[in-house]
């Protein structure tokens, strides 16, 4: 084992070179790690490349890290000269070992700005670092910076080539690819560390920055993450993302964009993009008819929102019943109900303020049940059972204008499956059912807390 300073220098320089060569030999390395190995083995490099996995033997890390760390700091203080290539290699080694070393990422930002490093290379390096350090805040921060660089470069190119259809086609493909890649990186990190705040807030940032108001992307997110959250019922962050997307999907901006292709292009996908068609189609297959009115658009998009809420509450109920005693699921229920409650109220307000507008064609009025609105009678199937149980306990529930429920092209309704209503009383029925059947003390505790929350936070509001 190397001991003298000179020997350490020689060893470390060789190892840095081995790492650089490993990346040249296999550009598809997808994971890094430390191999527990207390002693050096003769004439063997401590860098091990097996298939797409790069390993560093643990004995050399304690020499390697201080050496590259100090070299970089000396360079930063202008006490030691490193050429650009060496800087790239040293920071790469350094960050794979200690990715929270902010200054090393900053050195790479400078190299990127002067064109020595390619942005894709840093997306790759940070992705690898996250396989070993899935929380590393500085790695996520660097990633966001690189993505912004790429975005603004593309923007400049896009501005310069506005009339060049071929070019803008490429740009939107690039955006879709980047989006997909980021989602993959986030999912990977979320799988490696539960409730990974940095990974999930990065995901939110990406959706906010790159998919601004694009309901197609939002809905793809919801459906693609459905299985994931069902398998990670303690992951509060995963559910938070669903809550946020639900919230974003119900905002007028998101829905306007859905039904307005021109706006959709300008925000997310430049012209001639294949995405703009899918975007226009995205909102529950809501293609806009030529004689469509604003009112109709509003009603159509509200169908989708309504469906979204129902699907989310249904998922939540299923999971609460299948996996008793998970605070995350009950917290999710609070948030979704809260969003629903407010959307419903806002929507009622809108509907009652201009319910004189005529809506033609493909919308069908749904029959309301008693004072417990929102409960549709579809294809002759009655939801009376639920109504009865809800009527008993819902003196406070406001009637909901079921005009908001359009049946247009709703797959679910076509199949004749009724949407269960979401009301304060249906929530109480759900709770009664849980309390009746449940022997899990945690589940009971969360159920009682939810009941108290409904009574104080929701019940109190005018």
């Amino acid at each position: 084992m190397a001991e003298s300073e000179e020997e350490v220098n020689v060893l470390v320089q060789r190892v840095v070179k081995d790492i650089t060569n490993a990346f040249k030999r296999n550009p598809n390395i997808d994971e890094i790690g430390v191999i527990q190995c207390p002693e050096a083995r003769c004439n063997r490099s401590p860098i091990v490349l097996v298939e797409n996995k790069l390993g560093v033997e643990s004995w050399c890390v304690k020499f390697l890290l201080p050496y590259v760390h100090n070299k970089l700091l000396l360079y930063r203080q202008r006490k030691y000269w490193l050429d650009r290539e060496a800087l790239g290699d040293i920071t790469c080694t350094l960050l794979l070992l200690n990715p929270d070393f902010t200054t090393a990422w900053n050195v790479r930002k400078e190299l990127l700005q002067c064109g020595v490093l390619h942005p894709e290379k840093d997306l790759y390096l940070s992705k690898l670092a996250l396989t070993r350090f899935p929380k590393s805040p500085e790695t996520w921060i660097h990633r966001r910076w690189v993505l912004q660089q790429i975005q603004s470069r593309k923007q400049e190119q896009g501005d310069a080539a506005q009339v060049d259809g071929e070019r803008s086609h490429q740009l939107s493909d690039h955006l879709a690819r980047t989006l997909h890649q980021e989602m993959k990186v986030c999912s990977n990190a979320a799988g490696r560390y539960p409730s990974n705040y940095n990974a999930w807030s990065h995901r939110i940032w990406v959706l906010q920055q790159m998919a601004k108001g694009n309901v197609k992307v939002f809905h793809d997110e919801l459906s693609s993450m459905r299985l994931w959250v069902s398998m990670h019922v303690s992951d509060h962050s995963g559910f938070h993302l669903r809550e946020l997307i639900t919230e974003l999907s119900k905002t007028p901006a998101a829905n306007t964009i859905t039904t307005c292709p021109s706006q959709c292009q300008s925000v997310a996908t430049p012209s001639t993009s294949p995405h703009h068609h899918s975007c226009a189609r995205s909102n529950g297959q809501l293609s806009r008819g030529d004689n469509g009115t604003d009112e109709e658009e509003r009603q159509l998009s509200s169908t989708t929102v309504l469906q979204l809420f129902h699907q989310e509450m249904e998922l939540c109920s299923d999971l609460i019943q299948s996996y008793p005693g998970h605070e995350t699921l009950w917290s999710h229920r609070r948030h979704v109900f809260y969003l629903w409650h407010h959307w419903k109220r806002e929507h009622q307000h809108l509907s009652s303020s201009d319910n004189s507008s005529s809506v033609n064609g493909n919308r069908q009025k749904v029959e309301s049940h008693g004072g417990d609105g929102g409960l549709p009678k579809v294809n002759g199937e009655s939801c009376a059972d639920q109504v009865e149980s809800q009527k008993e306990r819902s003196p406070t529930v406001e009637p909901m204008d079921v005009d908001v429920l359009s049946l247009h092209d709703s797959k679910r309704l076509k199949r004749g499956v009724p949407l269960l209503s979401i009301t304060l009383s249906s929530e109480h029925s759900f709770l009664d059912e849980i309390m009746d059947r449940c022997s899990n003390p945690e589940q009971r505790r969360f159920a009682l807390a939810y009941e108290k929350w409904l009574d104080t936070v929701i019940g109190q509001r005018p």
Partner: protein, 313 residues
Amino acid sequence: MLDKHADYIAAYGSKKDDYEYTLSEYLRMSGIYWGLTVMDLMGHLPRMNRNEIIDFIKACQHECGGISASIGHDPHLLYTLSAVQILCLYDSLESIDVDKVVAYIVGLQQEDGSFAGDKWGEIDTRFSFCAVATLALLGKMDKIDVDKAVEFVLSCMNFDGGFGCRPGSESHAGQIYCCTGFLSLTGQLHQVNADLLGWWLCERQLSSGGLNGRPEKLPDVCYSWWVLASLKIIGRIDWIDKAKLRRFILACQDDEMGGFADRPGDVVDPFHTLFGIAGLSLLGDDQIKPVNPVLCMPEDVLQRNGVQPDILS
């Protein structure tokens, strides 16, 4: 036990090998703040090397006015706050160029009122807190657009009364601490929904007595501090079982070597040692100096500096 904790901190700086030192050098300035603050809270500050530390801070101030975690590292708001906190403990703010620090912070405020952590532009409510906390300690709050800064922080408030790192982000006890602290320093605590937020914060207490930072996470001494301090700031500290929390924090001590860990049985470190001791202080332990919940500094130091952040009653 307090003497053991002080011995642990006093010995911490000297026993590190190269490898461990380099691993954590990127946050050295905050490490020094944790160590010195806990020593001051226990009445052992004179054991630390004042002159060496002040010289170190001077060497970490950059041309732009910002301060870095260590020599040769890049400046950042996180370490600028830590450095200013240390200098307040030592009553020697004059050692650095204060006007330049102020200019550095002013330069990081964005149009929407948020703050970037450094010149590369990352936005986070933590940085809003760092900015106003530093300016409050320097008595220069008027140099930034406070209204805009408040607007941004409030835009990060969630339905549960909590706050996240950016608009739309999940509520997180660490971010809540930063945001309630921010609103305290800017005199805007009335904008918090104290009952709703208090509710969420209380739900962080687990059967062990310890507090977690988000639903279904493990209890942790540092989250216990962030939640407890936030409850104190919004005047709801009596909503949790204080005796149980105290027992949890005490169980995280290393009885032989001193210091606190994140959870009982884990390895101790200075970070959790500060938040363990500060938590005990907020819970009313009279062997420890009273700690300020907003700035996590001894109250007597803040009185000397004329800083009195708001607390809801």
